[in-house]
């Protein structure tokens, strides 16, 4: 079992990550509900993981998804503005 302090820190990080992803996922192209359901399934699937290295890797993947979403939203908006306002 993980030492108490590590598992508390992990679970704080995990819930922060989950709320960050839930918030970001609202604008997902396939729909906020689609994203939320898949996110919840992913977190449920990995709930039993105890190995700290594995947890670290999963959190890193979550952070990666968050950055990808931000990039997606930015590019979508940038391309729309470029198309509407700039002749190339």
């Amino acid at each position: 079992r993980l030492p108490v302090s590590t598992s508390r820190r992990s679970s704080a990080l995990l819930s922060e990550l989950e709320s960050k992803l839930l918030y970001l996922g609202r604008e997902y192209p396939k729909g906020g509900d689609y994203f939320r359901d898949r996110l919840r399934a992913a977190f449920a699937r990995n709930k039993a993981v105890e190995d700290p290295e594995q947890i670290k890797a999963l959190i890193a993947r979550g952070e990666y998804v968050a950055r990808e979403l931000e990039a997606l939203y930015y590019l979508r908006k940038y391309r729309a503005m470029k198309k509407r306002y700039y002749e190339d």
């Binding site: 922060e16 709320s19 960050k20 918030y23 970001l24 931000e70 939203y73 930015y74 979508r76 908006k77 940038y78 729309a80 503005m81 470029k82 509407r84 306002y85 700039y86």
Partner: protein, 237 residues
Amino acid sequence: MSGRVLVGVKRVIDYAVKIRVKPDNTGVVTDGVKHSMNPFCEIAVEEAVKLKEKKLIKEVVAVSCGPQQSQETIRTALAMGADRGIHVDVSGKDYENLGPLQVSKILAALAKQEDAQLILLGKQAIDDDCNQTGQMTAALLDWPQGTFASEVSLEGDKINLVREIDGGLEHIKINTPAVITADLRLNTPRYATLPNIMKAKKKKIVTVKPADLGVDVTSRLEVLKVEEPPQRQAGRV
């Protein structure tokens, strides 16, 4: 030098929403429609916050003119890093008729009241596409203006600016205080993350009325009709 920057942010219908004209042709449907910060205003906020992060300016004040919901737009600016907000309360018919001339009078009054060194705005709003507020504000204050800015750098008490104009780029140097309007390529605005939105709830938003600033928001324009553009005919090859 106050080191204070005023950033104007406008609440507009979200860029991704399909606009519908009201059946009575008096305007577009806004009730229940998703609104967000004008994309060019996001770029202006980002530039102001970057200047603060580089310690070139001391305080970023976000300003929005409109009804209660404009405070949401100010909150987004605060979440992106602005320090405090000023909500200029304009609602009802006054808000429907609010345009660049009145907004620039409001911004000019605020710039004097807040002793601002710099006013940063988006080059235009995606709803009315006026592209006038920055220019009018500069004229009212008798300040230099750097419009369509794609690069901004501070050099002492001057600003080096690159402007995107037809046919290329123009490099200018202007004195401060000044008005700058942001173009698309100026920067990449940061996303207002959830923790920052939470932190921003502690930042102050003050509400004022145009009359408090000595500004009359009566419009000199009357909208006669709003209609959809003609349907595109299918092309022929």
